[in-house]
Structure formats: structure tokens, C-alpha cells
């Protein structure tokens, strides 16, 4: 698989992992009682936290394999695509609102990502 594809998949998977972690930690907050041990137990038994963990490991592995073949100044800025993805997903999963200013910012970041990807 092309290194640039690996980098792209890694960034998208990282974004999805964040959404999963947020969803899992929301559950944990609802379920856990007081005390550190209860909290740790609630975190370790939350399947969305595990999903985050697996996604994180896979995304990191793909990142390392891809980064070996592309410039760091190419790959690193593409991480910002993940912020955009998380913002958009947050509308659907957590009912967060995105106003016109934020859409403008997201479009500017996307334009930057497209510029770097074509460089």
C-alpha cells in the first residue's frame, strides 16, 4: 500500500479513536461511583475505551510504517485533518453545534491539507 495512503488511514483512524474514547468516557462518568479503584474498574470494563486502545495501536503502527517513506514535513501537518474529522463527527455523536466561523476554519484547514498532500 502506498505510504501516503497509510498516513491518511492512520489520521482518520486516530480521529475515530478519539470519538470512541469520548463516548467511552461519557459512559464511565455515568457508571462509576466514587473512589479511584471504582474509576479504574469502570474504565477497564468499558468497551469503547478498548476500541480506542486497539484503534490507537493500529493507527500508530500505520503511522510509523508510512512515516518511514514520506517526509516528516509532509506527514505531520496532515494530523490536523483529524481535528476536522472529530469536529464533524462530534455533531452527530455528541450533538455539538458547528457555527459559520468554525466551518470557515475547518475549510481553511482542509485547503491547507490539500495543498500539502499535493506537494
Amino acid at each position: 500500500m502506498a505510504a501516503k495512503t497509510l498516513i491518511l488511514i492512520s489520521v482518520i483512524l486516530s480521529g475515530l479513536a478519539q470519538v470512541s474514547l469520548k463516548k467511552g468516557m461519557n459512559h464511565v462518568q455515568q457508571r462509576s461511583g466514587s473512589g479511584v479503584s471504582n474509576l479504574i474498574l469502570a474504565v477497564l470494563t468499558e468497551r469503547f475505551v478498548w476500541l480506542w486502545g486497539f484503534s490507537f495501536v493500529i493507527a500508530t503502527s500505520l503511522w510509523l510504517i508510512g512515516l518511514q517513506r514520506v517526509d516528516l514535513s509532509y506527514a505531520y501537518p496532515l494530523v490536523s485533518l483529524g481535528y476536522v474529522l472529530v469536529s464533524v463527527l462530534a455533531i452527530n455523536f455528541f450533538n455539538e453545534k458547528i457555527d459559520a466561523n468554525r466551518w470557515t476554519a475547518i475549510l481553511i484547514i482542509c485547503a491547507g491539507v490539500v495543498a500539502i498532500a499535493s506537494s
Binding site: I65, D71, S73, Y76, P77, E96, I109, V113, A115, A117
Partner: protein, 159 residues
Amino acid sequence: MGFDDQAVQAPPASLNDASHANLELQKSGNESTLTCRWEIAFVGAALLVVCGHLLIKAGLNTIPLISGGLSNKLLAIITQPTVLLGLGIYGFGTLCWMSAVAQTELSLLYPLTSLNYVLIAFLSYLVFGEKISLIRGSGIALIALGMVLLTRSQRKRGS
């Protein structure tokens, strides 16, 4: 990094409020906290994250490009000492970032991470001789601008 900035993801407004309250608490003289000032934590995080990534890339550059399965490639990568050192430093940088986030508003910290992109580009040119073309440089500038705007829109809403 792909995963770097995970700790950096967009926060719900309620989280901002909570961290703000936390800041107030510390201002009011809670000396028992183990955390250092957020400015120090932030600069530490930026330097460690950037250095970590440069080390990871430096380590990766020493590994010959082998063809074959992904698992073979991964094994070669995660047994490379410089890569491991870079990952460790990167992880430590993430802890510093969390410390900074816990002490002040994310809407203040987030745009500051644009600095990382610029530092990475400059150091990649300096250390690895990567060519920053006009279009790549423009892309990095656009992303940095977008990050600042993204956070400003959030801050206005939060206040």
C-alpha cells in the same frame, strides 16, 4: 503526529469550564498540587513532542526500506532504538500537554499547537534536508491559520 495530538482533540464546552474552575482553585492558593505552571508545561510539551517526532523520523530513516508484509516492517520499526526513544519522549510530551490542559483553557492552548507545525517544518528542513516547497509551506501556514480560527470560534461560544 498521527496520534500525537490525540490528547489535543476538541473539548466540549463543559470541559473548558471545569478546567477553568480548576485554574481558579489553584490561583486561590492550592499549593499542594504537583503540577507546574501551564506555560512551562506547554513549552515542555511542544519541545518534547517535536523532538520526539524528529527522533522517530531519524530512526525510521536508518531502517532500510524492506518489501514484505506490514508485520515485518513494523517489527523492524519498533525494535529500532532511536524510534523507541522518540516514542518515549513523545509520550512524555503528551503527559506535559495533559498537565497544561488540566490547568488552563484548551481554547487558549489549542491555537498555540500551530507552533508545532511550523517547528516541525523548519527542523525537518534543517535536520533532514527536506524540501519545503512553496505549496507545502503555504499548506502549513493555512493549517496554522485554521487552527487559530477554529479555537477563536470556540472561545467566543464558550464565553
